[in-house]
């Protein structure tokens, strides 16, 4: 078991050791300068999963330690010279297996680094037997940490030393080193999430509220910009695109709120920006899915698919390069700055837009209810014979509803809106799958045409043919499942819930 204490700033480590030595037989095992770096994904997947990833570099050895966030217990450790970018890069199987399901495609990034002096002490009894191990991490910027490592069967020593430490003014640690270190930079863990959390007051003027929502999305765009340019991992671009799409949806769904000229101009800009990122994202998805592609093939054909991976990688790099260049160009930068300035401009006293002065809750009710009704209408029109386009249109409408519900979440009781978002999300899944499978199938056909010129082995085309067949079968299965999924979505119980929450008392429009 480990017990952690914080030393008050005024107590130096030397004084603490001297204090212990007065009462106990203390053996200083080692003392050396070290660097501690915390790693996590950009969106804090390890921390959210209850893991602290600590890389301690010192002269004798550099060691990666995975700790339980709450107890501080070591879950796994390995001596390493450097930290690989992705979970798959760890040669230690235990670490790889712990990190892979949490990180998935996200890269490990250094969050914060601290330097400290590490002291290792033993407390010995009259037989010179170790009865307790003490580790002191002495920091400059935050309180030093003292960890007591109990030895089985020597609980008395643990109790005695704990008492001495408390008498000397030490307190049991309440927060981790990471939390304290981030505090010095006015940060805290999990300070980025791709999920929207926008707090709105129900009677806030619609134009002010909409600008507030859009500013929040702009922040997400800017935060993910650098990672998208450097291609640190695929999810920077993903989050960047989602924020762009949400912005576009906000502009079109809440049209009568902001000045028309600006609305039109920036709608065009964000449509261009969305288009710009399409190809790189499509290729990212293909590369992320590649393992699934392979696994879906008969074993004998799996290796034949490798040239496709190479082709996709090269193409992704090219697309990424073009995208990065665009994101550094004035074509992107200047309008974005203007957008930021526009969002910062204080609200006009008497705006001309019809919905600008509405309390945001009224506008939210009205928009959500309207889009919900449109979904039901569109869905009802779809039969087994309807063309794919109808499903795509429905998918887009669903996305609009989803964004609206997420923008305005805080205006409704969480217990009521969350289950409805979930109902919608479940329904969106089948529409999303249908679209993704079609895009993947279509892209593979286009790629195979390009690959013919590159003298790719014939077996690769054979494997790709089987792959396209698989995707097509899945797409048909998904299409066949649509009617049942839609029935679930529009069931009476859900309709009543939507109506009660959003219909309000206003007459239908």
């Amino acid at each position: 078991m480990l017990y952690h204490f914080d030393a008050p700033g005024r107590l130096t480590t030397e004084n603490l050791i001297a204090e212990l030595s007065k009462k106990l037989n203390v053996q200083l095992v080692s003392q050396h300068y070290s660097l501690k770096t915390y790693f996590d994904s950009f969106d804090w997947r390890l921390y959210s999963g209850g893991i602290l990833c600590e890389f301690n570099q010192s002269k004798p050895v550099s060691r990666l330690i995975l700790k339980d966030c709450l107890s501080g217990q070591t879950l796994a450790s390995a001596d390493l010279d450097s930290i690989p970018a992705f979970a798959a890069g760890f040669s230690n199987a235990k670490i790889r297996k712990m990190l892979s399901p949490l990180l998935e495609m996200r890269a490990l990034l250094p969050i914060t680094t601290l330097d400290y002096t590490l002291y290792q002490l033993n407390i010995l009894n009259e037989d010179e037997k170790i009865v307790l191990k003490i580790i002191i991490e002495s920091y400059d910027l935050i309180n030093s940490r003292i960890s007591l490592e109990a030895i089985k069967g020597y609980d008395n020593a643990l109790a005695r030393v704990s008492k001495i430490l408390i008498e000397a003014g030490l307190k049991p640690s309440r927060s981790s080193v990471l939390v304290d270190a981030l505090k010095t930079q006015s940060r805290k863990p999990s300070d980025y999430s791709s999920k929207l959390t926008i707090e709105l007051a129900p009677d806030l003027r619609a134009d002010i509220a909409v600008k507030y929502i859009l500013s929040h999305l702009l922040k997400t765009i800017k935060i993910n910009e650098q990672g998208t340019i450097t291609n640190t991992d695929s999810e920077f671009l993903h989050d960047f695109r989602v924020a762009v799409r949400r912005t576009r949806s906000g502009l079109s769904q809440l049209k009568e709120v902001l000045p028309e000229a600006e609305n039109d101009r920036f709608s065009q800009y964000f449509a261009w920006l969305g288009q710009l990122t399409n190809q790189t994202r499509d290729l990212d998805v293909q590369l992320i899915n590649f393992e699934n592609y392979q696994n879906a093939l008969p074993v004998t054909l799996r290796k034949d698919l490798t040239p496709l991976y190479d082709f996709l990688s090269v193409k992704q790099k090219q697309a990424q390069k073009t995208l990065a260049a665009k994101l550094k160009s004035s074509e992107y930068v200047i309008p974005l700055r203007q957008w930021e300035d526009f969002l910062k401009t204080p609200a006009i006293k008497k705006p001309t837009e019809t919905e600008a002065l509405l309390p945001i809750k009224n506008l939210a009710d009205r928009r959500i209810w309207k889009v919900y009704k449109r979904i039901i209408k569109q869905g009802n029109r779809i039969t087994d014979q309807s063309p794919a386009e109808n499903l795509h249109e429905l998918r887009k409408t669903c996305k609009k509803l989803r964004y609206l519900m997420e923008f305005f979440q805080s205006l409704y009781p969480q217990k009521k809106i969350k289950p409805l978002i979930k109902v919608l999300k479940d329904f969106q899944e089948i529409l999303g799958d249908f679209q993704d499978l079609e895009v993947q199938e279509q892209s593979l056909k286009t790629y195979s045409a390009e690959m013919i010129e590159k003298q790719v082995p014939a077996n690769t085309f054979l494997a790709m043919g089987v792959l396209i067949q698989n995707l097509d079968k899945r797409r048909c299965d998904t299409r066949n499942a649509f009617a049942t999924k839609f029935e679930t979505f529009k069931q009476r119980e859900n309709q009543i819930s939507f109506q009660t929450l959003f219909k309000n008392n206003e007459p239908d429009t």
Binding site: D127, E128, K129, I151, K152, Y154
Partner: protein
Amino acid sequence: MKIIAAFNIKGGVGKTSTAVNLAFLAAQTGYRTLVWDLDPQGASSFYFRIKPKVKGGSKELISGKCELDGLIRGTDFERLDLLPADFSFRNLDLVLDSGKKPTHRLEKLLKPLGDDYDFIFLDCPPNISLLSEAIFEASDILLSPVIPTTLSLRTLDQLKKFISHKKIKKLQLMPFFSMVDRRKKLHLDIMKILPEQHPDFLTATIPYASDIERMGQERMPLNAFIKNSRSTRAYLELWQELLEHLNSKSL
């Protein structure tokens, strides 16, 4: 969990050094390891600087009134624990005899430790008694250090007869030469002949060496104070041979 007993009817043949040094190597390899000092002299407890004292003595321990886990002490080395000896262990035979199924008692006591340890080394007192029988029933391997002398051959035969008479099928006897003095012709002669009669002898041999005797002064396993010597190499070979044997039988 594998239970390995360092056992010989004779005393002073290197049982404690075997248990202590192999347990140390097992822990260093990464296995969670326990040494149970069953000898009332408490030599392995002494080597680990742990007081040879068990609360309640042999009676409470054997009766199962107090769980073994509460009596275990951590040594100075990672993954290596010790269940200390107690002077009352001199009466272990009597205590065992007064209970039910005495020869299966140790096996039953050790069973709950299966989740906590990969290896348990039993440092056994010399002699052949009811306690020995209980040790044989509990163990997977009887690792027996043999000094290459004529008398040793006799005791090894005695031990083999005893084990086959008791029909303990699970137990495997693994003798090896201990305290070998290569300057002594008798040692060399016996080492040549004995394995022919006893093909189960391990090939690793432990020399008679002053650094092994120094364990008493240093009060720690050999590898903890000497990194590389003839003796450390010998124990490492013995450990590897043992491990290979266990791996071949799928540990």
